[in-house]
Protein backbone atom coordinates (compact mmCIF):
# COMPACT_ATOMS: atom_id res chain seq x y z
CA UNK A 1 0.00 0.00 0.00
CA UNK A 2 2.85 2.35 0.66
CA UNK A 3 5.36 1.24 -1.94
CA UNK A 4 7.10 3.85 -3.97
CA UNK A 5 5.24 6.83 -2.61
CA UNK A 6 8.33 8.46 -1.13
CA UNK A 7 9.31 9.57 -4.59
CA UNK A 8 6.25 11.68 -5.15
CA UNK A 9 5.59 14.40 -2.63
CA UNK A 10 2.42 16.21 -3.66
CA UNK A 11 2.80 18.96 -1.16
CA UNK A 12 5.81 20.13 0.82
CA UNK A 13 5.32 22.35 3.82
CA UNK A 14 8.40 23.91 5.31
CA UNK A 15 8.70 25.89 8.52
CA UNK A 16 5.11 27.08 8.43
CA UNK A 17 4.53 29.76 11.02
CA UNK A 18 1.22 31.36 11.84
CA UNK A 19 0.79 34.25 14.23
CA UNK A 20 -2.07 35.92 16.00
CA UNK A 21 -1.37 39.47 16.97
CA UNK A 22 -3.85 40.61 19.56
CA UNK A 23 -3.35 43.94 21.28
CA UNK A 24 0.35 43.79 20.67
CA UNK A 25 0.92 40.39 22.23
CA UNK A 26 1.93 37.85 19.65
CA UNK A 27 0.88 34.23 19.86
CA UNK A 28 2.20 31.55 17.55
CA UNK A 29 -0.37 28.77 17.27
CA UNK A 30 1.52 27.13 14.40
CA UNK A 31 5.28 27.14 14.63
CA UNK A 32 7.99 25.55 12.52
CA UNK A 33 5.59 23.06 11.01
CA UNK A 34 7.14 21.01 8.23
CA UNK A 35 5.78 17.93 6.54
CA UNK A 36 5.51 16.28 3.18
CA UNK A 37 2.34 14.91 1.74
CA UNK A 38 2.76 11.96 -0.58
CA UNK A 39 0.58 11.41 -3.58
CA UNK A 40 -2.21 9.01 -2.77
CA UNK A 41 -1.73 8.75 0.97
CA UNK A 42 -3.89 9.58 3.94
CA UNK A 43 -1.97 11.71 6.37
CA UNK A 44 -3.38 12.05 9.85
CA UNK A 45 -2.78 15.28 11.73
CA UNK A 46 -3.46 14.60 15.40
CA UNK A 47 -3.23 16.63 18.53
CA UNK A 48 -5.27 18.14 21.31
CA UNK A 49 -7.59 21.10 20.82
CA UNK A 50 -5.47 24.17 20.30
CA UNK A 51 -2.44 22.27 19.07
CA UNK A 52 -2.65 24.08 15.74
CA UNK A 53 -3.85 21.31 13.48
CA UNK A 54 -6.89 23.10 12.11
CA UNK A 55 -4.98 26.34 11.61
CA UNK A 56 -2.34 24.39 9.71
CA UNK A 57 -5.07 23.18 7.33
CA UNK A 58 -6.53 26.64 7.01
CA UNK A 59 -3.10 28.06 6.25
CA UNK A 60 -2.78 25.53 3.43
CA UNK A 61 -6.13 26.67 2.08
CA UNK A 62 -5.26 30.33 2.54
CA UNK A 63 -8.33 30.67 4.71
CA UNK A 64 -6.89 31.85 7.99
CA UNK A 65 -9.46 33.83 9.97
CA UNK A 66 -9.08 37.62 10.20
CA UNK A 67 -6.25 38.61 12.50
CA UNK A 68 -4.43 35.33 12.00
CA UNK A 69 -1.52 35.55 9.59
CA UNK A 70 0.97 33.22 8.05
CA UNK A 71 4.25 34.96 8.78
CA UNK A 72 6.72 32.41 7.57
CA UNK A 73 7.39 29.19 5.83
CA UNK A 74 6.70 27.93 2.37
CA UNK A 75 4.15 25.60 0.87
CA UNK A 76 4.93 24.06 -2.48
CA UNK A 77 2.88 21.76 -4.58
CA UNK A 78 3.85 19.43 -7.37
CA UNK A 79 2.31 19.72 -10.79
CA UNK A 80 3.72 17.23 -13.18
CA UNK A 81 7.34 16.89 -12.20
CA UNK A 82 7.84 20.41 -10.99
CA UNK A 83 7.49 21.71 -7.49
CA UNK A 84 6.23 25.24 -7.31
CA UNK A 85 5.01 27.58 -4.60
CA UNK A 86 1.37 26.96 -3.86
CA UNK A 87 -0.99 29.85 -4.46
CA UNK A 88 -3.95 28.97 -2.24
CA UNK A 89 -6.25 31.40 -4.06
CA UNK A 90 -5.69 29.51 -7.28
CA UNK A 91 -5.51 26.07 -5.76
CA UNK A 92 -8.79 26.27 -3.88
CA UNK A 93 -11.51 24.44 -5.69
CA UNK A 94 -9.09 23.34 -8.39
CA UNK A 95 -6.49 21.06 -6.89
CA UNK A 96 -7.65 21.09 -3.31
CA UNK A 97 -10.89 21.23 -1.41
CA UNK A 98 -11.80 21.24 2.24
CA UNK A 99 -14.32 19.25 4.22
CA UNK A 100 -15.52 21.01 7.31
CA UNK A 101 -16.21 19.76 10.75
CA UNK A 102 -19.77 20.92 11.14
CA UNK A 103 -21.93 20.04 8.14
CA UNK A 104 -24.91 21.73 9.77
CA UNK A 105 -23.35 25.16 9.39
CA UNK A 106 -21.05 24.61 6.42
CA UNK A 107 -23.87 24.36 3.90
CA UNK A 108 -25.65 27.47 2.70
CA UNK A 109 -29.13 27.05 4.22
CA UNK A 110 -30.93 28.78 1.38
CA UNK A 111 -29.75 26.63 -1.50
CA UNK A 112 -31.03 23.28 -2.57
CA UNK A 113 -28.66 20.37 -2.32
CA UNK A 114 -28.49 19.92 -6.08
CA UNK A 115 -27.47 23.54 -6.56
CA UNK A 116 -24.85 23.33 -3.83
CA UNK A 117 -23.26 20.33 -5.52
CA UNK A 118 -23.75 21.65 -9.04
CA UNK A 119 -22.10 24.98 -8.27
CA UNK A 120 -18.47 23.81 -8.44
CA UNK A 121 -19.17 22.22 -11.83
CA UNK A 122 -20.65 25.47 -13.10
CA UNK A 123 -18.03 27.75 -11.60
CA UNK A 124 -14.94 25.65 -12.07
CA UNK A 125 -15.66 23.74 -15.21
CA UNK A 126 -18.15 25.84 -17.12
CA UNK A 127 -20.77 23.12 -17.17
CA UNK A 128 -24.30 24.24 -18.07
CA UNK A 129 -26.79 24.33 -15.21
CA UNK A 130 -28.94 21.38 -16.20
CA UNK A 131 -25.99 19.18 -16.95
CA UNK A 132 -24.37 20.23 -13.69
CA UNK A 133 -27.51 19.26 -11.80
CA UNK A 134 -27.49 15.86 -13.46
CA UNK A 135 -23.86 15.47 -12.48
CA UNK A 136 -24.76 16.53 -8.95
CA UNK A 137 -27.33 13.76 -8.70
CA UNK A 138 -24.77 11.26 -10.00
CA UNK A 139 -22.30 12.45 -7.36
CA UNK A 140 -24.94 12.15 -4.65
CA UNK A 141 -25.34 8.54 -5.67
CA UNK A 142 -21.55 8.11 -5.63
CA UNK A 143 -21.30 9.36 -2.05
CA UNK A 144 -24.03 6.99 -0.97
CA UNK A 145 -27.03 9.27 -0.59
CA UNK A 146 -30.15 7.17 -1.04
CA UNK A 147 -32.88 8.49 -3.35
CA UNK A 148 -30.59 11.14 -4.82
CA UNK A 149 -33.17 12.32 -7.34
CA UNK A 150 -35.64 13.20 -4.68
CA UNK A 151 -33.16 14.45 -2.10
CA UNK A 152 -31.46 16.71 -4.60
CA UNK A 153 -34.41 19.06 -4.23
CA UNK A 154 -34.07 19.20 -0.44
CA UNK A 155 -32.57 22.03 1.53
CA UNK A 156 -29.69 21.21 3.90
CA UNK A 157 -31.81 21.51 7.05
CA UNK A 158 -34.05 18.75 5.74
CA UNK A 159 -31.20 16.27 5.77
CA UNK A 160 -29.65 14.37 8.65
CA UNK A 161 -26.13 15.12 9.84
CA UNK A 162 -24.64 12.14 8.06
CA UNK A 163 -26.32 13.04 4.78
CA UNK A 164 -25.20 16.64 5.09
CA UNK A 165 -21.62 15.51 5.50
CA UNK A 166 -22.04 13.37 2.39
CA UNK A 167 -23.33 16.44 0.56
CA UNK A 168 -20.24 18.37 1.62
CA UNK A 169 -18.01 15.57 0.42
CA UNK A 170 -19.88 15.60 -2.89
CA UNK A 171 -19.28 19.34 -3.18
CA UNK A 172 -15.57 18.81 -2.64
CA UNK A 173 -15.55 16.05 -5.25
CA UNK A 174 -17.44 18.27 -7.69
CA UNK A 175 -14.42 20.56 -7.84
CA UNK A 176 -12.48 17.58 -9.18
CA UNK A 177 -9.74 18.37 -6.71
CA UNK A 178 -7.51 15.44 -5.88
CA UNK A 179 -6.37 16.78 -2.53
CA UNK A 180 -8.98 16.78 0.20
CA UNK A 181 -8.28 18.51 3.47
CA UNK A 182 -10.65 17.13 6.07
CA UNK A 183 -11.05 19.09 9.27
CA UNK A 184 -12.45 16.66 11.82
CA UNK A 185 -15.02 15.46 9.30
CA UNK A 186 -16.80 13.15 11.72
CA UNK A 187 -16.51 14.90 15.06
CA UNK A 188 -20.03 16.32 14.85
CA UNK A 189 -21.61 13.00 13.90
CA UNK A 190 -22.98 9.96 15.71
CA UNK A 191 -20.53 7.17 16.25
CA UNK A 192 -22.24 4.83 13.78
CA UNK A 193 -22.35 7.53 11.15
CA UNK A 194 -18.68 8.35 11.78
CA UNK A 195 -17.71 4.92 10.59
CA UNK A 196 -19.82 5.21 7.47
CA UNK A 197 -18.36 8.58 6.54
CA UNK A 198 -14.77 7.49 7.16
CA UNK A 199 -15.41 4.35 5.14
CA UNK A 200 -16.78 6.50 2.35
CA UNK A 201 -13.69 8.73 2.39
CA UNK A 202 -11.38 5.74 2.12
CA UNK A 203 -13.44 4.24 -0.67
CA UNK A 204 -13.52 7.49 -2.62
CA UNK A 205 -9.81 7.93 -2.08
CA UNK A 206 -9.18 4.55 -3.66
CA UNK A 207 -11.62 5.01 -6.53
CA UNK A 208 -10.58 8.50 -7.45
CA UNK A 209 -6.91 8.43 -6.55
CA UNK A 210 -7.28 11.16 -3.95
CA UNK A 211 -4.81 12.36 -1.38
CA UNK A 212 -6.23 13.11 2.04
CA UNK A 213 -5.16 15.09 5.06
CA UNK A 214 -7.27 14.12 8.01
CA UNK A 215 -7.27 16.38 11.03
CA UNK A 216 -8.59 14.58 14.07
CA UNK A 217 -8.07 14.03 17.74
CA UNK A 218 -9.35 10.50 17.53
CA UNK A 219 -6.41 8.10 17.63
CA UNK A 220 -8.61 5.14 16.74
CA UNK A 221 -9.56 6.87 13.50
CA UNK A 222 -5.91 7.53 12.74
CA UNK A 223 -4.83 3.96 13.35
CA UNK A 224 -7.65 2.67 11.17
CA UNK A 225 -7.32 5.00 8.20
CA UNK A 226 -4.08 6.89 8.01
CA UNK A 227 -0.99 5.70 6.20
CA UNK A 228 1.12 8.22 8.00
CA UNK A 229 0.58 10.39 11.01
CA UNK A 230 1.95 13.70 12.23
CA UNK A 231 1.49 14.44 15.92
CA UNK A 232 1.15 18.07 16.91
CA UNK A 233 1.74 19.58 20.31
CA UNK A 234 1.48 23.28 21.17
CA UNK A 235 1.79 24.38 17.57
CA UNK A 236 4.60 22.09 16.54
CA UNK A 237 4.85 18.72 14.92
CA UNK A 238 6.65 16.54 17.42
CA UNK A 239 6.66 13.28 15.54
CA UNK A 240 5.85 11.86 12.12
CA UNK A 241 6.01 8.43 10.60
CA UNK A 242 4.03 5.51 9.28
CA UNK A 243 1.01 5.10 11.53
CA UNK A 244 1.71 1.50 12.44
CA UNK A 245 5.30 2.30 13.42
CA UNK A 246 4.42 5.35 15.42
CA UNK A 247 1.67 3.57 17.30
CA UNK A 248 3.74 0.47 17.95
CA UNK A 249 6.81 2.34 18.94
CA UNK A 250 6.29 6.04 19.69
CA UNK A 251 9.38 8.19 19.23
CA UNK A 252 8.21 11.11 21.31
CA UNK A 253 7.11 11.10 24.93
CA UNK A 254 4.00 13.07 24.03
CA UNK A 255 2.90 10.46 21.50
CA UNK A 256 3.63 7.75 24.02
CA UNK A 257 1.57 9.55 26.64
CA UNK A 258 -1.29 10.10 24.19
CA UNK A 259 -1.36 6.44 23.28
CA UNK A 260 -1.24 5.43 26.91
CA UNK A 261 -4.23 7.67 27.57
CA UNK A 262 -6.47 5.87 25.05
CA UNK A 263 -9.13 4.05 27.03
CA UNK A 264 -8.92 0.29 26.68
CA UNK A 265 -11.78 -2.02 27.35
CA UNK A 266 -10.01 -4.84 29.06
CA UNK A 267 -11.11 -6.77 32.10
CA UNK A 268 -9.51 -5.19 35.13
CA UNK A 269 -8.19 -2.37 32.97
CA UNK A 270 -7.86 -0.10 35.95
CA UNK A 271 -7.88 3.69 35.96
CA UNK A 272 -7.65 5.84 32.87
CA UNK A 273 -4.12 7.03 32.27
CA UNK A 274 -3.85 10.79 31.85
CA UNK A 275 -1.09 13.22 31.00
CA UNK A 276 -0.23 15.34 33.99
CA UNK A 277 -0.56 19.10 33.71
CA UNK A 278 -2.13 20.85 30.75
CA UNK A 279 -0.90 22.11 27.39
CA UNK A 280 1.10 25.32 27.73
CA UNK A 281 -0.51 28.70 27.35
CA UNK A 282 0.64 29.77 23.89
CA UNK A 283 1.43 33.23 25.19
CA UNK A 284 3.99 31.72 27.46
CA UNK A 285 5.48 28.50 26.13
CA UNK A 286 8.39 26.71 27.83
CA UNK A 287 11.78 27.23 26.26
CA UNK A 288 13.25 24.38 24.25
CA UNK A 289 10.94 21.41 24.02
CA UNK A 290 7.40 22.57 24.73
CA UNK A 291 6.40 19.28 26.25
CA UNK A 292 9.24 19.14 28.74
CA UNK A 293 7.25 20.53 31.65
CA UNK A 294 4.91 17.55 31.45
CA UNK A 295 7.45 14.99 30.28
CA UNK A 296 8.45 12.25 32.66
CA UNK A 297 11.81 11.88 30.93
CA UNK A 298 12.79 15.57 30.76
CA UNK A 299 16.50 16.34 30.90
CA UNK A 300 18.19 19.61 31.58
CA UNK A 301 19.17 20.05 27.95
CA UNK A 302 15.51 19.75 26.92
CA UNK A 303 15.11 23.36 28.09
CA UNK A 304 17.65 24.61 25.60
CA UNK A 305 17.20 22.20 22.70
CA UNK A 306 16.03 23.79 19.44
CA UNK A 307 13.02 22.30 17.69
CA UNK A 308 14.20 19.97 14.96
CA UNK A 309 12.67 16.85 13.54
CA UNK A 310 15.38 14.24 13.17
CA UNK A 311 15.20 10.94 11.40
CA UNK A 312 15.28 8.04 13.80
CA UNK A 313 14.48 5.46 11.18
CA UNK A 314 13.23 5.32 7.63
CA UNK A 315 10.34 7.73 7.32
CA UNK A 316 10.38 8.27 11.04
CA UNK A 317 11.09 11.65 12.51
CA UNK A 318 10.88 12.88 16.06
CA UNK A 319 11.60 16.17 17.76
CA UNK A 320 12.66 14.46 20.98
CA UNK A 321 16.37 14.60 21.67
CA UNK A 322 16.32 11.47 23.79
CA UNK A 323 13.84 9.18 22.09
CA UNK A 324 15.69 6.11 23.30
CA UNK A 325 14.45 6.67 26.86
CA UNK A 326 10.89 5.99 25.88
CA UNK A 327 11.65 2.47 24.76
CA UNK A 328 13.22 1.70 28.04
CA UNK A 329 10.13 3.04 29.69
CA UNK A 330 12.09 4.39 32.59
CA UNK A 331 11.01 7.48 34.39
CA UNK A 332 13.78 9.65 35.66
Amino acid sequence: MVEGRMSKPLLIVEDLRVEINRHGSIVTPVDEVSFELQQGEILGLVGESGSGKTLTLKALMGLLPPGVVQVGGSISSRSGDVLQPLDPEKARGRIMAMIFQEPATALNPLRRVRDLIAEPFIVGHGVARNEARAKAVALMRAVGIPDPEQRSRAYPHQLSGGLRQRVMIAMALATESTLLLCDEPTTALDVTIQDQILGLLVELKRERDLTLVLVTHDLAVVSELCDRVAVMYAGRIVETGATADVFANPGHPYTAALLAAVPRFEPGGGDLTTIGGSPPDLRNVPSGCRFRTRCQYAFEECATAGHRLTHVADERQTACIHPAWIERGVAI
Binding site: L63, P66, A97, T105, N108, E119, Q158, L159, G161
Partner: protein, 284 residues
Amino acid sequence: MMTDGPSQAYESDAVSSRRPLPGILVAGTVIVGVFVLLALLAPFIAPFDAVEQDIPNKLAAPSAEHWLGTDEVGRDVFSRLIWATRVDLPIGFLAALFPMILGTFLGALAAYFGGWVDFVVTRIAEVVQAFPIYVFLIALIFALGPGVKSILITFTVVSWVLYARLIRGEILRIRTREYVQAAEALGYSHARILTRHLLPNAGRQTLVYFASDIVLALITLAALSYFGLGVQPPTPEWGAMVAAGQRFLRTQWWLSVTPGLVIAALGTGLSLISDGLDEWLKDA
Protein backbone atom coordinates in the same frame (compact mmCIF):
# COMPACT_ATOMS: atom_id res chain seq x y z
CA MET B 1 -30.84 18.25 15.29
CA MET B 2 -31.55 15.15 13.29
CA THR B 3 -29.15 12.32 12.92
CA ASP B 4 -29.07 9.28 10.74
CA GLY B 5 -31.53 7.42 12.89
CA PRO B 6 -33.52 4.47 11.66
CA SER B 7 -36.66 6.51 11.22
CA GLN B 8 -36.22 9.79 9.46
CA ALA B 9 -39.04 12.25 9.34
CA TYR B 10 -37.51 13.28 6.06
CA GLU B 11 -39.54 11.25 3.58
CA SER B 12 -42.90 12.41 4.79
CA ASP B 13 -42.57 16.06 5.54
CA ALA B 14 -39.61 17.52 3.84
CA VAL B 15 -38.73 18.17 0.29
CA SER B 16 -41.77 19.84 -1.16
CA SER B 17 -43.47 21.12 1.96
CA ARG B 18 -43.49 24.84 2.56
CA ARG B 19 -44.31 26.86 5.57
CA PRO B 20 -47.84 28.27 5.44
CA LEU B 21 -48.08 31.95 4.65
CA PRO B 22 -49.04 34.10 7.64
CA GLY B 23 -52.56 35.53 7.40
CA ILE B 24 -51.38 39.10 7.61
CA LEU B 25 -49.04 38.57 4.67
CA VAL B 26 -51.95 37.29 2.60
CA ALA B 27 -54.18 40.18 3.71
CA GLY B 28 -51.50 42.74 2.92
CA THR B 29 -50.84 41.21 -0.46
CA VAL B 30 -54.54 41.30 -1.31
CA ILE B 31 -54.79 44.99 -0.38
CA VAL B 32 -51.70 45.97 -2.32
CA GLY B 33 -52.79 43.69 -5.17
CA VAL B 34 -56.06 45.64 -5.45
CA PHE B 35 -54.07 48.86 -5.80
CA VAL B 36 -51.85 47.31 -8.45
CA LEU B 37 -54.94 46.21 -10.36
CA LEU B 38 -56.44 49.70 -10.03
CA ALA B 39 -53.27 51.18 -11.46
CA LEU B 40 -53.13 48.71 -14.33
CA LEU B 41 -56.83 48.91 -15.17
CA ALA B 42 -57.35 52.61 -14.48
CA PRO B 43 -58.53 53.42 -18.04
CA PHE B 44 -61.24 50.76 -17.77
CA ILE B 45 -62.31 51.41 -14.21
CA ALA B 46 -62.19 55.18 -13.89
CA PRO B 47 -65.47 56.63 -15.18
CA PHE B 48 -63.93 60.01 -16.08
CA ASP B 49 -60.70 61.48 -17.29
CA ALA B 50 -58.29 62.60 -14.59
CA VAL B 51 -57.58 66.11 -15.81
CA GLU B 52 -60.60 67.12 -17.85
CA GLN B 53 -62.24 70.11 -16.22
CA ASP B 54 -65.95 70.83 -15.94
CA ILE B 55 -66.02 74.24 -14.28
CA PRO B 56 -69.85 74.70 -14.21
CA ASN B 57 -70.09 71.45 -12.26
CA LYS B 58 -67.34 72.21 -9.74
CA LEU B 59 -67.42 71.17 -6.09
CA ALA B 60 -70.43 68.95 -6.69
CA ALA B 61 -71.54 66.68 -3.88
CA PRO B 62 -71.34 62.89 -4.31
CA SER B 63 -73.99 61.66 -6.71
CA ALA B 64 -74.78 58.68 -8.89
CA GLU B 65 -72.66 60.18 -11.66
CA HIS B 66 -69.79 61.49 -9.53
CA TRP B 67 -69.48 58.98 -6.69
CA LEU B 68 -67.17 61.17 -4.68
CA GLY B 69 -68.21 64.47 -6.12
CA THR B 70 -66.06 66.88 -8.12
CA ASP B 71 -63.18 69.14 -7.12
CA GLU B 72 -62.75 72.89 -7.45
CA VAL B 73 -62.43 72.73 -11.26
CA GLY B 74 -65.08 70.06 -11.73
CA ARG B 75 -62.87 66.98 -12.11
CA ASP B 76 -64.31 63.67 -10.93
CA VAL B 77 -62.66 62.89 -7.56
CA PHE B 78 -63.24 59.14 -7.74
CA SER B 79 -61.53 58.96 -11.16
CA ARG B 80 -58.64 61.09 -9.96
CA LEU B 81 -58.12 58.82 -6.97
CA ILE B 82 -57.86 55.84 -9.30
CA TRP B 83 -55.61 57.57 -11.82
CA ALA B 84 -53.38 58.72 -8.97
CA THR B 85 -52.62 55.08 -8.20
CA ARG B 86 -50.58 55.08 -11.39
CA VAL B 87 -48.53 57.95 -10.01
CA ASP B 88 -48.16 57.18 -6.31
CA LEU B 89 -47.64 53.45 -6.49
CA PRO B 90 -44.69 53.37 -8.91
CA ILE B 91 -43.05 56.44 -7.38
CA GLY B 92 -43.38 55.01 -3.89
CA PHE B 93 -42.01 51.68 -5.06
CA LEU B 94 -39.07 53.16 -6.94
CA ALA B 95 -38.34 55.67 -4.18
CA ALA B 96 -37.72 52.66 -1.92
CA LEU B 97 -36.19 50.39 -4.57
CA PHE B 98 -33.38 52.69 -5.71
CA PRO B 99 -32.11 53.37 -2.18
CA MET B 100 -32.33 49.66 -1.45
CA ILE B 101 -30.17 48.80 -4.44
CA LEU B 102 -27.60 51.50 -3.75
CA GLY B 103 -27.52 50.93 0.00
CA THR B 104 -27.32 47.16 -0.27
CA PHE B 105 -24.52 47.40 -2.80
CA LEU B 106 -22.45 49.84 -0.74
CA GLY B 107 -23.20 48.19 2.59
CA ALA B 108 -22.31 44.76 1.25
CA LEU B 109 -19.02 46.01 -0.17
CA ALA B 110 -18.20 47.72 3.11
CA ALA B 111 -18.87 44.65 5.19
CA TYR B 112 -17.28 42.14 2.84
CA PHE B 113 -14.06 43.94 2.08
CA GLY B 114 -13.74 45.95 5.29
CA GLY B 115 -10.67 48.16 5.60
CA TRP B 116 -10.75 51.47 3.79
CA VAL B 117 -13.87 50.55 1.80
CA ASP B 118 -15.76 50.13 5.03
CA PHE B 119 -14.25 53.30 6.43
CA VAL B 120 -15.28 55.43 3.46
CA VAL B 121 -18.82 54.02 3.20
CA THR B 122 -19.44 54.32 6.92
CA ARG B 123 -18.18 57.90 7.04
CA ILE B 124 -20.34 58.98 4.09
CA ALA B 125 -23.33 57.28 5.71
CA GLU B 126 -22.67 59.17 8.92
CA VAL B 127 -22.52 62.49 7.10
CA VAL B 128 -25.83 61.81 5.35
CA GLN B 129 -27.43 60.67 8.58
CA ALA B 130 -26.24 63.74 10.44
CA PHE B 131 -28.85 65.88 8.63
CA PRO B 132 -32.48 65.82 9.77
CA ILE B 133 -34.03 63.71 7.05
CA TYR B 134 -36.90 65.99 6.00
CA VAL B 135 -34.75 69.10 5.96
CA PHE B 136 -32.29 67.27 3.75
CA LEU B 137 -35.04 66.01 1.44
CA ILE B 138 -36.66 69.42 1.05
CA ALA B 139 -33.35 71.19 0.52
CA LEU B 140 -32.29 68.72 -2.13
CA ILE B 141 -35.60 68.93 -3.98
CA PHE B 142 -35.42 72.72 -3.89
CA ALA B 143 -31.99 72.50 -5.41
CA LEU B 144 -33.00 70.01 -8.09
CA GLY B 145 -36.41 71.52 -8.77
CA PRO B 146 -39.73 69.82 -8.02
CA GLY B 147 -40.74 66.76 -9.99
CA VAL B 148 -40.66 63.00 -10.07
CA LYS B 149 -37.04 62.77 -11.16
CA SER B 150 -35.81 64.96 -8.31
CA ILE B 151 -37.91 62.99 -5.86
CA LEU B 152 -36.33 59.70 -6.91
CA ILE B 153 -32.81 61.11 -6.91
CA THR B 154 -33.35 62.73 -3.53
CA PHE B 155 -34.78 59.60 -1.94
CA THR B 156 -31.89 57.55 -3.25
CA VAL B 157 -29.30 59.98 -1.93
CA VAL B 158 -30.94 60.22 1.48
CA SER B 159 -32.28 56.81 2.38
CA TRP B 160 -29.67 54.39 1.05
CA VAL B 161 -27.96 54.87 4.39
CA LEU B 162 -30.41 52.72 6.33
CA TYR B 163 -30.18 49.91 3.81
CA ALA B 164 -26.39 50.09 3.90
CA ARG B 165 -26.37 49.85 7.68
CA LEU B 166 -28.82 46.97 7.69
CA ILE B 167 -26.96 44.84 5.20
CA ARG B 168 -23.57 45.73 6.61
CA GLY B 169 -24.57 44.54 10.04
CA GLU B 170 -26.12 41.37 8.70
CA ILE B 171 -23.14 40.48 6.54
CA LEU B 172 -20.71 41.12 9.37
CA ARG B 173 -22.85 38.78 11.42
CA ILE B 174 -22.83 35.90 8.93
CA ARG B 175 -19.43 36.62 7.39
CA THR B 176 -17.72 34.12 9.64
CA ARG B 177 -20.32 31.38 9.15
CA GLU B 178 -18.78 28.18 7.96
CA TYR B 179 -20.76 28.04 4.73
CA VAL B 180 -19.12 31.29 3.68
CA GLN B 181 -15.71 29.77 4.39
CA ALA B 182 -16.80 26.67 2.56
CA ALA B 183 -17.65 28.79 -0.46
CA GLU B 184 -14.20 30.36 -0.27
CA ALA B 185 -12.65 26.93 0.07
CA LEU B 186 -14.39 25.89 -3.14
CA GLY B 187 -12.61 28.71 -4.93
CA TYR B 188 -15.66 30.86 -5.71
CA SER B 189 -15.13 34.48 -6.70
CA HIS B 190 -15.86 37.39 -4.36
CA ALA B 191 -18.79 38.42 -6.53
CA ARG B 192 -20.32 34.95 -6.37
CA ILE B 193 -19.83 34.60 -2.64
CA LEU B 194 -21.42 38.00 -2.10
CA THR B 195 -24.38 37.59 -4.40
CA ARG B 196 -25.14 33.89 -4.04
CA HIS B 197 -24.09 33.05 -0.54
CA LEU B 198 -24.03 36.18 1.59
CA LEU B 199 -26.77 38.45 0.29
CA PRO B 200 -29.57 35.86 0.20
CA ASN B 201 -28.81 34.98 3.78
CA ALA B 202 -28.37 38.59 4.87
CA GLY B 203 -31.30 40.08 2.98
CA ARG B 204 -34.23 39.13 5.17
CA GLN B 205 -34.28 42.33 7.23
CA THR B 206 -33.73 44.36 4.08
CA LEU B 207 -36.79 42.85 2.45
CA VAL B 208 -38.90 43.48 5.53
CA TYR B 209 -37.67 47.04 5.76
CA PHE B 210 -38.22 47.59 2.04
CA ALA B 211 -41.93 46.87 2.37
CA SER B 212 -42.32 49.38 5.16
CA ASP B 213 -40.03 51.86 3.43
CA ILE B 214 -42.49 52.05 0.53
CA VAL B 215 -45.08 53.30 3.03
CA LEU B 216 -42.60 55.88 4.25
CA ALA B 217 -41.83 56.95 0.71
CA LEU B 218 -45.53 57.22 -0.14
CA ILE B 219 -46.27 59.35 2.86
CA THR B 220 -43.26 61.53 2.25
CA LEU B 221 -44.26 61.89 -1.39
CA ALA B 222 -47.75 62.93 -0.31
CA ALA B 223 -46.23 65.40 2.13
CA LEU B 224 -43.93 66.85 -0.50
CA SER B 225 -46.78 67.17 -2.96
CA TYR B 226 -48.81 68.81 -0.24
CA PHE B 227 -46.07 71.45 0.02
CA GLY B 228 -46.04 71.76 -3.77
CA LEU B 229 -42.61 70.13 -4.08
CA GLY B 230 -43.79 66.78 -5.38
CA VAL B 231 -45.86 65.79 -8.34
CA GLN B 232 -47.02 68.89 -10.18
CA PRO B 233 -50.61 69.69 -11.14
CA PRO B 234 -52.69 68.75 -12.95
CA THR B 235 -51.33 65.21 -12.59
CA PRO B 236 -53.52 63.47 -10.00
CA GLU B 237 -51.62 62.61 -6.83
CA TRP B 238 -53.08 61.79 -3.43
CA GLY B 239 -50.99 64.20 -1.39
CA ALA B 240 -51.64 67.04 -3.78
CA MET B 241 -55.35 66.20 -3.66
CA VAL B 242 -55.35 66.41 0.12
CA ALA B 243 -53.68 69.80 -0.11
CA ALA B 244 -56.06 71.10 -2.77
CA GLY B 245 -59.16 69.98 -0.89
CA GLN B 246 -58.06 71.61 2.32
CA ARG B 247 -59.68 74.92 1.52
CA PHE B 248 -63.06 73.25 1.32
CA LEU B 249 -62.74 71.12 4.41
CA ARG B 250 -65.86 72.55 6.05
CA THR B 251 -68.16 72.15 3.10
CA GLN B 252 -66.68 69.44 0.85
CA TRP B 253 -64.69 67.50 3.41
CA TRP B 254 -64.46 64.39 1.16
CA LEU B 255 -62.06 66.21 -1.17
CA SER B 256 -59.27 65.88 1.42
CA VAL B 257 -60.46 62.95 3.44
CA THR B 258 -60.86 60.38 0.66
CA PRO B 259 -57.31 60.63 -0.71
CA GLY B 260 -56.10 60.49 2.90
CA LEU B 261 -58.05 57.29 3.46
CA VAL B 262 -56.66 55.83 0.25
CA ILE B 263 -53.10 56.54 1.39
CA ALA B 264 -53.90 54.98 4.75
CA ALA B 265 -55.34 51.87 3.10
CA LEU B 266 -52.32 51.30 0.89
CA GLY B 267 -50.01 52.03 3.81
CA THR B 268 -51.83 49.45 5.90
CA GLY B 269 -51.50 46.86 3.14
CA LEU B 270 -47.76 47.45 2.84
CA SER B 271 -47.26 47.36 6.60
CA LEU B 272 -49.10 44.05 6.77
CA ILE B 273 -46.80 42.70 4.06
CA SER B 274 -43.79 43.93 5.99
CA ASP B 275 -44.86 42.30 9.25
CA GLY B 276 -46.00 39.18 7.44
CA LEU B 277 -42.68 38.81 5.67
CA ASP B 278 -40.87 39.22 8.95
CA GLU B 279 -42.89 36.41 10.45
CA TRP B 280 -42.69 34.19 7.41
CA LEU B 281 -38.95 34.53 6.89
CA LYS B 282 -37.96 34.00 10.52
CA ASP B 283 -35.14 31.53 10.87
CA ALA B 284 -36.35 28.05 10.19
